[in-house]
């Protein structure tokens, strides 16, 4: 018997692999499990050789050698075995390549989701099996609750830190064998636990943005061999209003960092044209869409999974839809068109959507993650 999948499961003789980035969240995740007597194997995932991306002014990213040093110290303090495992090949193939490719198509990638689905919850789990472990624990702010018919994925209790949005690709069999020990706590509580436990990572700064990009996305993409397509900012009617040094790094809906003067109302990126390396800008209303399509759907909630399995398409659900990581979600109708595709219709309010980004549907209480997928181009 492995440990049960709730984040408050009792101790178990089967060891659990805990992914330790060297940050405070995964340190406390390990600490909480260790305190409950769960046998642990600490693992840091070497995903990227930071020498590859010329990180001149190397900002705080996670998973650097210095972070592994911290993870090692925490593991030693908890008296658990600890190893650095090499995931570079998979990460480069499944995350970096897709990141570069997606931007080149004028879409907005979400590497954290790819990393979770292909690296953390797939390859790590497979390799953990070789160590005699069936369960994987991480420091994500999310909760898993067993229920009738399957496991439910809920937002983390701390809505400021909630990371469920990045986890919509988790399958039932993965949820069953995953532990999110910090999901029941708020970030200040986690820091307090770390302080009380004397963990060396207690006061570490938050890791920001994309872990493998230390500077600007444009420079990163150019640095690893992607082209750097300079081009123009134009309005919807084709008037040039400025120049940019690469469509990479621009996201539909983006307002900050465009550095375009001469307009009375704020300008947003409303479209990216990779064919002509153009970034099309406009007012906020130009971003408005009544509905949008989502593809590569993953169904997470047990009842929704069953309904999709019945195959009686289309069917509809009233949901709350979140369209980027720091978005709180907006009421919408989700019309499920097929096992792979949905159409989202905004209700009272709307949000700007970036093609390529994830759209994730929650229940009306905005707590349980139901499904997610990638936003299609209009």
């Amino acid at each position: 018997m492995g440990p049960s999948s709730t984040s408050t499961s009792p101790s178990s003789p089967t060891p659990v692999v805990v992914a330790m980035s060297g940050g405070v969240d995964s340190s406390v995740a390990a600490y909480l499990l260790a305190k409950r007597g769960v046998p642990l194997i600490g693992v840091s995932m070497q995903v990227w050789d930071y020498k590859k991306s010329s990180a001149e002014n190397s900002r705080a990213t996670c998973c650097s050698p210095a972070d592994f040093c911290d993870a090692r110290r925490v593991a030693a303090a908890l008296d658990i075995p600890y190893y650095v495992l090499d995931f570079e090949a998979t990460f480069e193939r499944e995350v970096i390549s897709r990141f570069v490719e997606t931007y080149s198509q004028g879409l907005t990638p979400n590497p954290c989701i790819d990393c979770n689905s292909k690296v953390k919850f797939r390859e790590l789990r497979e390799r953990a099996a070789g160590f005699g472990c069936s369960h994987v624990a991480t420091g994500h702010y999310a909760r898993i609750r067993p229920g009738t018919g399957g496991h439910h994925l809920l937002r983390g209790r701390d809505l400021e830190k909630d990371q469920s949005y990045f986890l919509y690709t988790c399958r039932q069999e993965e949820l069953e064998k995953t532990l999110f020990p910090v999901g029941d706590y708020t970030k200040p509580e986690i820091r307090e636990i770390a302080r009380e436990a004397g963990l060396v990572t207690a006061e570490k700064a938050e890791s920001q943005d994309i872990c493998f990009v230390a500077g600007r996305v444009q420079d990163f993409v150019a640095g690893i061999g992607g082209r750097k397509p300079r081009g123009e900012f134009v309005t919807k009617d084709g008037k040039k209003v400025g120049e940019h040094d690469g469509i990479h790094g621009y996201t539909v809906g983006q307002r900050r960092g465009l550095n375009l003067g001469g307009s009375t109302e704020p300008l947003y990126v409303v479209e990216i044209d990779p064919e002509r390396d153009r970034v099309i800008v406009g007012g906020r209303e130009d971003l408005r869409r009544e509905s949008f399509s989502v593809q590569e759907m993953h169904w997470v909630a047990p009842d929704l999974l069953r309904e999709v399995a019945l195959g009686r398409f289309p069917f509809e659900r009233e949901v709350v839809v979140q369209v980027r990581s720091r978005h709180r979600g907006v009421r919408a109708l989700m019309r499920v068109e097929s096992g792979d595709r949905s159409e989202i219709f905004w209700r009272d309010d709307w949000a700007a959507v970036s093609p390529g980004q994830a759209a994730v549907a929650y229940d009306l209480a905005n707590e349980e993650l139901l499904a997610g997928g990638r936003i299609c181009r209009a």
Partner: protein
């Protein structure tokens, strides 16, 4: 209690050797001091030097310079040759990084022509293989006595003879760090100008090693400062380390035959059992003379780095490629130089037995290996 199958990384001293080391703790004085305390330290140091010289088969005129280890000794040889204005430096491609890196530096900054010779597919650096690189302008040849990863023993004496016959001014060097305690080693018989040993590879503490220099060969120091070690290695001598290394070296030398027998028995038993239960297993270099304790095990379809982790969790200490600073192993340059595809290199681990290994331990190691392989998704 773990079973230590990583003796080639560091050979932890048995109880008897620990006793030898402990007895040297009295040698903490400074040999440069004029007083009697210093004189005792000086005497201990020179006694250690004589014992190392004798145990390693060097002649009375040959020099023994104590260093911090093999890395320093190897750096010293390569750097000195580069500073002499060496034109052509030849080495095998399977040398330790502490030979390859200084060579690469000599090539980049001193303008030397550095030639690295790949071994045969079985990992041996043969004289025939080296012959093309050994030309009349060759100034240094460096070939390790036995490789740390495969255990393959190279024909150093023959290579040194050939080099000398082609190039009268050539200097010959062998990094023999892996040999003491596991095989016969005679500086005189190898006929090289320089030979490197390292204490922690045979049961002495780490932080002490030695460079043997043939009588009449001049070399410049790497570390400058005081006049210690005949001005070849500045810094207060590590008398404790030197005495411990000499004592341990002498002790493992006197019991060498039985140590070799025990190691070979264990290694051969291990390979026999693994062959029975792991289809497709390859033992790198088994067709060549090898150190008696070393087995380079390739299990196609399995990640070697994960195998080392899984074995550790089962209480078996093994190793894969060279460890980098983060603790993540990189692919072995030795196996790559042997012409192996990356996939095979990444599927290889090293098992290196101690002399006090029991056959029951070997069986437990194989059982652990079988359990781990059963859990791993082979070939997927």
């Amino acid at each position: 209690m773990s079973i230590d199958c990583d003796a080639n990384a560091t050979y932890l001293p048995e109880a008897e050797l620990q006793g030898v080391i402990a007895a040297c703790l009295k040698h903490l004085g400074n040999p440069s001091s004029l007083h009697r305390g210093g004189q005792r330290a000086r005497a201990a140091l020179e006694e250690a030097r004589a014992l190392v010289r004798e145990t390693l088969g060097a002649s009375s005129g040959d020099s023994v310079v104590f260093t911090s280890g093999a890395t320093e000794a190897n750096n010293m040889v390569v750097n000195a040759c580069a500073r002499l204005g060496a034109r052509k430096l030849v080495a095998s491609a399977i040398e330790h990084p502490c030979v390859l890196e200084p060579l690469s530096m000599a090539g980049a900054h001193a303008g030397a022509d550095v030639v690295l010779v790949a071994p045969g597919t079985g990992g041996i650096v043969s004289c025939a293989g080296m012959a093309a690189a050994l030309t009349e302008d060759t100034t240094l040849v460096s070939v390790m006595a036995a490789n740390n990863e495969t255990g393959v023993v190279n024909p150093v004496a023959e290579i040194a003879r050939t080099a000398r016959s082609r190039s009268p001014q050539v200097l010959t060097h062998t990094d023999a760090a892996q040999v003491p305690g596991k095989g016969e080693l005679s500086f005189r018989d190898l006929g090289v100008d320089f030979m490197t040993v390292s204490g922690h590879k045979f049961g002495a503490p780490s932080g002490i090693g030695a460079l043997l220099i043939r009588h009449g060969i001049g070399i410049s120091p790497l570390i400058l400062g005081g006049p210690q070690e005949a001005k070849l290695r500045a810094g207060t001598e590590n008398v404790f380390g030197a005495a411990a290394m000499a004592g341990v070296l002498s002790r493992v030398g006197s019991g060498l035959a039985s140590r070799i027998g025990a190691m070979r028995g264990a290694r051969d038993h291990f390979e026999r059992l693994v062959r029975q239960c792991v289809p497709g297993v390859i033992f790198n270099g088994e067709e060549h003379p090898r150190l008696p304790n070393t087995s380079s095990v390739c299990i196609p379809g399995v990640r070697g780095d994960d195998l080392v982790v899984a074995l550790d969790l089962e209480g078996v200490l093994a190793s894969s490629g060279a460890a980098c600073s983060s603790g993540k192993p990189g692919p072995s340059h030795v196996l790559r130089a042997m012409g192996q595809p990356l996939e095979r290199v990444k599927s290889t681990i090293r098992i290196s037995f101690r002399a006090d290994v029991r056959l029951g331990d070997v069986e437990r190691v194989v059982a652990a290996l079988a359990r781990v392989l059963g859990r791993m998704n082979r070939g997927s």
